[in-house]
């Protein structure tokens, strides 16, 4: 009876119009293209903004380095005769203390965003080329 029921039920299957699969695939492609466009726009904006932010951030960072006395401490490392080796702990602490941490972190963050978003933009282009 079970076998008969399988056969009977199979005969009663409803079938869709022939083009339904194509319509669905087209709808998915459109969504994919739209989503890729939005992603590309977001990542490109991130590249542009991080690049625009990086220029003043690096200028500010270099100014902060000059004002903090970091370069003076660093030059000591090359000019002093052995005293740095004796007091290397104190020297490292002073060097670290003179670092413009906030400015440095901000610049590194912008650099990170720039590289990541550039990579994502490249990937979007690569996907576009693959699907074309």
């Amino acid at each position: 009876m079970k076998k008969n029921l399988y056969i009977i039920f199979k005969q009663a299957i409803y079938y869709p119009e022939n083009q339904l699969s194509d319509d669905i695939f087209r709808a998915i492609n459109n969504k994919e293209a739209k989503s890729a466009k939005i992603k590309l726009w977001i990542y490109s904006s991130a590249v542009a903004l991080s690049l625009a932010g990086l220029i003043p951030a690096i200028k500010d960072l270099s100014l902060q380095f000059s004002n903090s006395g970091f370069y003076e401490y660093l030059s000591l490392a090359f000019s002093s005769n052995g005293s740095i080796i004796s007091y290397w702990k104190e020297f490292m602490l002073s060097l670290a203390d003179s670092l413009p941490v906030e400015s440095l972190m901000f610049s590194l963050l912008l650099l990170f965003i720039f590289f990541i978003s550039t990579r994502l933009v490249m990937r979007q282009f690569k996907d576009k080329l693959l699907t074309a």
């Binding site: 029921l5 009977i8 669905i24 709808a27």
Partner: protein
């Protein structure tokens, strides 16, 4: 030999768009038949399309070690059907479950035998479809998934999130109703 669903998913995730197209082509008719049983011929194509869009959006989250693709996809289709029915204020499977009396299922015999006379009547496609339309959705879905999609009771249970015995009892009740309606010729 045809690629398995899981192989096609792996291919698609590697960037082969045609692999997803193959999945769409493979399952469009199955999902259409399932959806049409609950939402009718007009809404069924939209349900199928929505289901595939959800599948496409979530395919990266699909874990091949936890479920079969077909079961996972039909679960999405069922949820899409339920959302549609709720929007249209049609009684859905879960609402009907509330009235279910589990003790009743225990009193049912293990096998419901459909006599030859009933089977002969059911061979009429239109007649069977009319009967299926009249069977409560929660029984109808078990019949469709079991006989048309050839899913096992445990796969159906996984899909409906119901214990195996409940699925079996729904199947028995569905057959009992089908038998009664066929013999009484209650197609209205």
């Amino acid at each position: 030999m045809q690629d398995s669903d899981e192989e096609l998913i792996v291919e698609y995730l590697k960037g082969n768009q045609q692999a997803f197209k193959a999945l769409v082509e493979r399952y469009t008719a199955h999902l259409y038949n399932f959806s049409r049983r609950f939402v009718g011929a007009t809404a069924a194509p939209d349900i199928v399309q929505e289901t595939f869009i959800k599948v496409w959006k979530n395919i990266r989250k699909f874990d091949t070690s936890r479920a079969h693709f077909k079961t996972w996809m039909f679960t999405i289709a069922r949820n899409t059907v339920i959302d549609y029915m709720r929007k249209k204020k049609i009684a859905v499977f879960s609402d009907l479950n509330k009235n279910e009396d589990e003790s009743f299922s225990e009193s049912l015999p293990d096998n419901v035998i459909l006599p030859d006379e009933a089977l002969q009547k059911l061979e009429d496609r239109k007649f069977l479809n009319k009967l299926l339309d009249q069977i409560p959705p929660m029984y109808r879905e078990v019949l469709i998934l079991y006989y048309q999609e050839e899913m096992t009771f445990s796969e159906i249970g996984e899909m409906l999130d119901k214990p195996l015995n409940t699925v079996k009892s729904h199947h028995r009740r569905a057959l009992k109703q089908l038998k009664k309606m066929t013999l009484n010729n209650q197609t209205q």
